[in-house]
Symmetry: C2
Subunit: 207 residues, 2 copies
């Protein structure tokens, strides 16, 4: 309801502004892919969107504001990508493995997005509280999924994120076009669940 | 023996050259710490060592040659840092945990060094075969330690590096001055060893 109200008060000028901002962000991702996420040049970015560099400042206050918008966009894309699986109940070994594979696929699809969202790859950049709250919401989703799997220790969530970011970083850094670490995802979920004693596997010789 | 021969033929000019190269590398690390590893500027680097940028080219062919020397230096420092523990036999749970803590300490001491050595943080940079062979030698060390711990599956080494880089990256990215992931190191080693069935813990009720 609130969104339809705000849509109805959108002027053509607002719409053009939003389109320009989207175009600047697309160009920023494109540049990050070729130059590296930390090496975004406002001069090159302006050139790509057919502006002079100072004009960018009527859309973004600073280079960090652009990074912040990219971070927020990444978090929104992740939420959308994970929506089905983060709501899926009951949580089973299989649904956890499916979620992990989905997360991995999201990260591998854009290593620079991964570096911005999950590594401190841009010196001095910290997401704004508003953008960071989206990251915290994703972490809270993961926490709820683990809780529903029977994992109650908060430190286990840290171990979980370490394991998953480790597999992803190694894949991106050392085998970007292969599946050397992707092949270990299911096994890693099993290792973690066995360790925390959650969702025991059904075996023939179980006690 | 070979090293003492080459030392004896060192001229004062060679020595000055080596000292200048060491000074350039020190300045490059210093710059990387403030500007980020991917944002090394040759102009700023030259300024720090009191040269004009073109003069740097009599010491390094390119910016990537500087990154390569930094990568090599990092690998040499790591080898030295890990020397005692990578030779320690027999391998026990305790010696493995000590090695992991040592590695973690090395990584946390310089996040930019970690990013250069273990993450693809500099777009387009690949270490030279000579420098990369030092990284491979460290990985081979780790492989031998695990083998001597009774871990024979080569994929387990990939799981091991994923787990350790994951803990380290999360610590550096999300709690750089704390110990939120450092606290999980010992537990992670136990989780891994239990999973691969190596170095069983002595328990009172063991069969």
């Amino acid at each position: 309801m609130t969104t339809s109200v705000s849509t109805s008060t959108t002027t053509p000028r607002d719409r053009r502004r939003r389109e320009t901002i989207a175009e600047i962000l697309d160009a920023a991702w494109e540049l990050a892919r070729t130059e590296g996420i930390a090496s975004l040049s406002l001069r090159q970015l302006a050139k790509r969107v057919g502006m002079r560099a100072p004009s960018l400042y009527s859309y973004f206050d600073s280079k960090h504001a652009i990074y912040d918008a990219m971070f927020r966009q990444g978090q929104e894309q992740l939420a959308e990508h994970m929506a089905d699986v983060s709501e899926k109940r009951p949580v089973t070994r299989e649904s956890l493995k499916a979620g992990v594979r989905l997360w991995f696929e999201f990260c591998l699809a854009s290593p620079v997005r991964y570096q911005l969202m999950f590594q401190r790859s841009v010196p001095g950049f910290e997401p704004s509280p508003e953008s960071y709250s989206l990251a915290q919401a994703r972490l809270a989703d993961a926490g709820r999924v683990l809780l529903d799997a029977g994992v109650t220790d908060p430190a286990a969530l840290d171990l979980w994120t370490a394991l998953l970011t480790g597999l992803t970083s190694q894949q991106i850094s050392n085998d970007p076009t292969g599946d050397r670490w992707a092949r270990l995802l299911d096994e890693s979920v099993d290792m973690f669940l066995d360790h925390v004693g959650a969702l025991p596997t059904q075996t023939g010789d179980a006690p």
